[in-house]
Symmetry: D3
Subunit: 282 residues, 6 copies
């Protein structure tokens, strides 16, 4: 007779023994179009039992990894700065214990919380950013903190040449101009991803995956679908290169499960979470 413990598929390590900590950041407070990513992490946890622990892609099994699932942070509603602080604090605790984390968003702004935790530890951090959108606005309707400004905020912390953007196909003109000067931006696809992994081989790297980088045909459970994205196979090829890098932590964002009642988008997110964990926990 035991209580109902619910973790992501096979992530049943105790905290102390875990190498990787999985946790949810169910925040969507600045989402400008259709909200609902707050339901992302619990949907991923709930539906993870529909997939297998074994990956035929990398021939490894999640049961061999030591991952702790800490559940979702209980973030406030309507106070963006406080939510970011709570994310930052949780990430710091995990990092201080010598562990990596995989954070499940939530909207993309949650990345700012974790980058704030990581920068003091890794001043030379590089950020790999897969997304449909530039996320480089300086403000949105007067607000500096927004899912559409998050990479601009990250740039303020990390500086020029540190953000490697792929799959980008939407943004204001000035954002693309900013990127030309300050980040490395690949429009539309993942060209150059492999080369980048070679260049960054010895650097600490943070992998930030906005799932809307996928074409909406593959992933339609998201707030701002943007046609013309990459395929699942293209994304998997990139993910399968992560073990070549010194990945210090990751996030997976922007699943809004209520907009895809078929559950396919959640299944995509589950499979990618499994594969990223298998790469990170190597």
């Amino acid at each position: 007779m035991h209580k109902n413990i619910q973790t992501f598929l096979a992530c049943d390590a105790e905290y102390e023994e875990a190498d990787v900590v999985l946790f949810g950041a169910p925040f969507d407070g600045t989402t400008s179009f259709r909200p609902g990513t707050r339901f992302g992490p619990s949907a991923i946890r709930n539906d993870s039992f529909g997939i297998e622990t074994y990956s035929p892609y990398c021939d490894r099994d999640l049961t061999e990894c030591k991952v702790f699932d800490g559940g979702d942070l209980e973030l406030p509603f309507g106070n963006t700065e406080r939510a970011l602080s709570m994310i930052e604090d949780y990430a710091k605790t995990v990092l201080k214990a010598g562990k990596k984390f995989v954070m499940l968003g939530g909207e993309h702004l949650v990345t700012l919380g974790t980058i704030r935790a990581l920068m003091p530890l890794h001043p030379d951090l590089h950020i790999i950013h897969l997304d449909a959108h530039t996320d480089l606005r300086t403000e949105y309707l007067g607000e500096a903190l927004s899912h559409s400004t998050v990479m601009y905020q990250v740039w303020k912390l990390a500086g020029d040449g540190r953000i490697h953007q792929f799959g980008i196909r939407s943004g204001e003109k000035y954002e693309f101009e900013f990127a030309a000067a300050h980040t490395k931006l690949q429009k539309f696809d993942l060209s150059g991803f492999k080369e980048m992994t070679e260049v960054l081989k010895d650097k600490p790297v943070y992998f930030s995956l906005d799932l809307d980088v996928l074409d909406p045909s593959v992933f339609w459970g998201t707030g701002t679908p943007e046609a013309g994205g990459i395929t699942f196979k293209e994304l998997m090829e990139a993910v399968l290169m992560l073990h070549r890098l010194r990945v210090v932590s990751c996030d997976i964002n922007e699943l809004s499960p209520h907009y895809d009642p078929s559950g396919c988008s959640t299944a995509v997110a589950c499979k990618l979470t499994r594969e990223i964990l298998l790469q990170i926990a190597r």
Copy 2:
């Protein structure tokens, strides 16, 4: 840093100290029309945080009760008899420990499992059965075990005059004739419910709630909606009388949440679960 324990709202007692055990029986193997009640108990648990612990109906708070949530039984698919045995075994364990249970179905056939556990302990058991359907078929497409035969199976164990049926508005003609001879059946509504509570005051009583007794306007997340049901207020009035009875255990069945993506049917089930727990745990 703790794992993600997920229980129904405020049902966080340890097993040893608990008076009532809540558990899920996610079985829908004999559902003849639209399946999906297997997702009922987890939906109730997930969405229970949308309601309050306090009931303005009976002025009590669930935080004052000692309820253990054991999660869902891991029932096999495609083997009806084995699934019923697992339910029976779990119920027996709980009953032997001197506790009551509230089982969340699943389809209505799960009630046969618990009645098998209860009859040896309470040979004079009465069953209060709220439902749109008689559930008194002798077989369905050649099968004796079916959601539409469950009360006939219960009758074989409990005998004449023990099943008190309310709200019934669908069945074959022979089922209504059977009821006239062997059960107490109230067509369409809850007339006589209060009187029954007085008659049964000293008897051990099992309360079996098929949520489709409610009108589909109130509860449409179910496999076989049947127009012309009772209102939520009528059902609540009945539930609020349960503390007058010697209720030994209960079940709440037939939520099929995918057929109501608005979440309203799940919210109805959550609220009734809270109220029934508050009645039972008195």
Copy 3:
């Protein structure tokens, strides 16, 4: 050849000539369960053409009224206080011009913005509050500004005995205790509504309608459905008494249209908007 002007059904008066101003406050930044009320006002405007301008309930026609539809405020995301200020400013402008307004939410917190605008003009303001929830929390996850604290915030401005709550069926125990001391709260239904209209006859009155006061069977397109609500006919009876009062302005909140793709909840909101306008513009 003219541009596409879109107003609520027949609300095509110019601002200067209008007696009543309709506007949307598409804010859902503190919604704690399922967001989406930001889409409420535009859904009401879009679907209003599915109903008639004539009301057989009060035998009046919206074409005879002078209502200006100002569209939706462009509120920021992630900054609760700034959104409330913008609502307050808009309401003040309308009130200074000697007009009344009907605000379409958005979540219920938007009411705090309009009450801030109204209190200086009507220090003796009474608030009629129809809702499923008390909305009297002092904080929610540490935040003072929340859809579940809004009536507590209003009470801080208006004081004891000014808030008349009806249909309430959900809240924490301490909220009901607070109501007993500081507001007038009718549990579950609209009993006493008519008597109240007589008592308040000469007072300035604000009518705040949280549509979830309706039973979810009638209105399921909302974030936090709460079973056991009032019927549409009961609500209409109350609305049809509004012309007996000195109503200074109104709001209609908590339609979250994506959770009811059938459009019925939006149709309910449209019809109530028409009827409230017909009462206010008399």
Copy 4:
């Protein structure tokens, strides 16, 4: 080995022996808001197997009646007059064979086709019309043939005092004025229905049921939901009086099943079809 014959529940009589002919008129060509009633009759046929043949309401069984299900007419798209002619022709054929029919719409305009077939045979025909809408417009966007003009068209054939309207709660002002002069109209509910059955006892009567007379909470799978309708029980009480009348034929209209994926609206239509057949076939 036989082909897949699909009829409404138990309506498997051969044409020659049948007393009643059931057929579908899947036309929605003039629907002004949300189309889709073309899928109504097939949905009713498909889902009819979810209900029982026996009615506990009138204690009769559909297996005892002789009903032929002729399937759906293959009506053209985009040619209103031709579609009406095909309906008229089919109805004439059935009537000439001495049978009654129950037509499943489709939008309400299909009634004009059957009335054209009936008037020559029953010049003193009375029409009982249950609906949310008056349907008495003289034109709609310049078109004389429309779902919103159908009862005006019927009036042109049948004359004053022949149309008995119940449950009406929407229309333009002039329509209600027209009704006051030319039809018998009961606003909002079924008051006077029983009295009417006594007055019309010896007259040939056509029963035309627009399912949107029901409250949208009961029946939301329809194009133009109109809040404030009658309950299922109220409608059933009226239907159960039909055998007292000399009903020559009936129709059941305006199910648009795609707007209610839960299937509840279709289940309501199925049950009412069963009950009406049981009344007619007596």
Copy 5:
């Protein structure tokens, strides 16, 4: 204080100054399977604010173009010929003023209205037709005017060799035979599109885009999904060639938004509308 003007993203030019007129033709009266394209143009307008004005594909910004959005035509229901005449009249007015138009359907038959307006001005008009279906039937259930006959009707006006069909993967055998004799038809894909742009360089060209040319995985909000279509990237490549042609006007058809509640299909239509406007307004 201004009324709620709603245009497609950034299309806020006044009529007089505009080079291009955008307007909706919300007609679906001959749709033979699942209707609902009448909601297409308003959905495109509503959701256009989810995308950016800037195109990283052609490095141009919609804010630099002069486009007037005239809203939707108010077309009658049930009268196909009259609806076509109204479309023809509107198009003629725009063309006489020396402007181009982009029409948002509606079903594909609306193209017949605009071609009638264009042929007298451009007797040598070529039509580029992207579609899953041939649309070359001579009649459908006895009707000459139908969404499945529209290109046959256009051929009657324009003659042999003028219709350039791409992506076609569905039709009756005789339609493909007709195409072999009278049009230029490319099965399945866009092979030869580039070559065609060179051949037609100096001709007046009308671009008619039936969005169901896209694979249903990309665009499922449509009445007649037909598997095996082209990808979004393939379509974009074709669209980006339009500025090489002398395009006199365009249409974009067959979005039926209610069949894709995720909004992805509408987002696809919005993005293509933006890109086509950027090509046309060069």
Copy 6:
């Protein structure tokens, strides 16, 4: 006047004259995640009228083939073994009459029924198995008969080297190891399919198509979506090779239509059914 016979598109041959028998096996009793494939065959039949009888892929027309549609078997609920026996019996009857069949599932376990019928007639039978999942478990939650064990069960009948698996991307590690020893398994795609058709040219072949081999972007109406599947075009290429083989019968499984209300998945299944019939009936 004829009854409503409903067959798959143009499959209206009488049994005696038919070369191919189409029938449904609406069984989903062992589905472990999301049930609903029981509705697959009727959905395919209902929506088949949305596609054409002519195939531009192979330039043949279904009206030229002699296919009998026997409708759906009436399988029991909750008794796996009995359901399989009924499938086996039906298949045997068809095969004895010298005909082929195409069975529409239902979940994949239905294939065990037909293989039992086929093995005695074709001891050297080869099975071509397209699927996302290995289906090679030895048991699932203690049950030997399951949709995830079906190919292991088939292997027990057919032996080593007889099962040719393509598109597989999910399974437990031991299943892939089993496949390496006993079946021929192609991970992820259809590589080697053409070569296989040459090798098997003279062998009796059964073609078993689990539609979830398709990427969920193409086919999301299924219980266990698994990202990374093949495209529709890739599948069509394989299907168009079937006429080169001595195909003795086929099945098409795992459409769960309620999880794709857009109807696209059903349309995919309809089109593949047409193409497979055209290949088989050659």
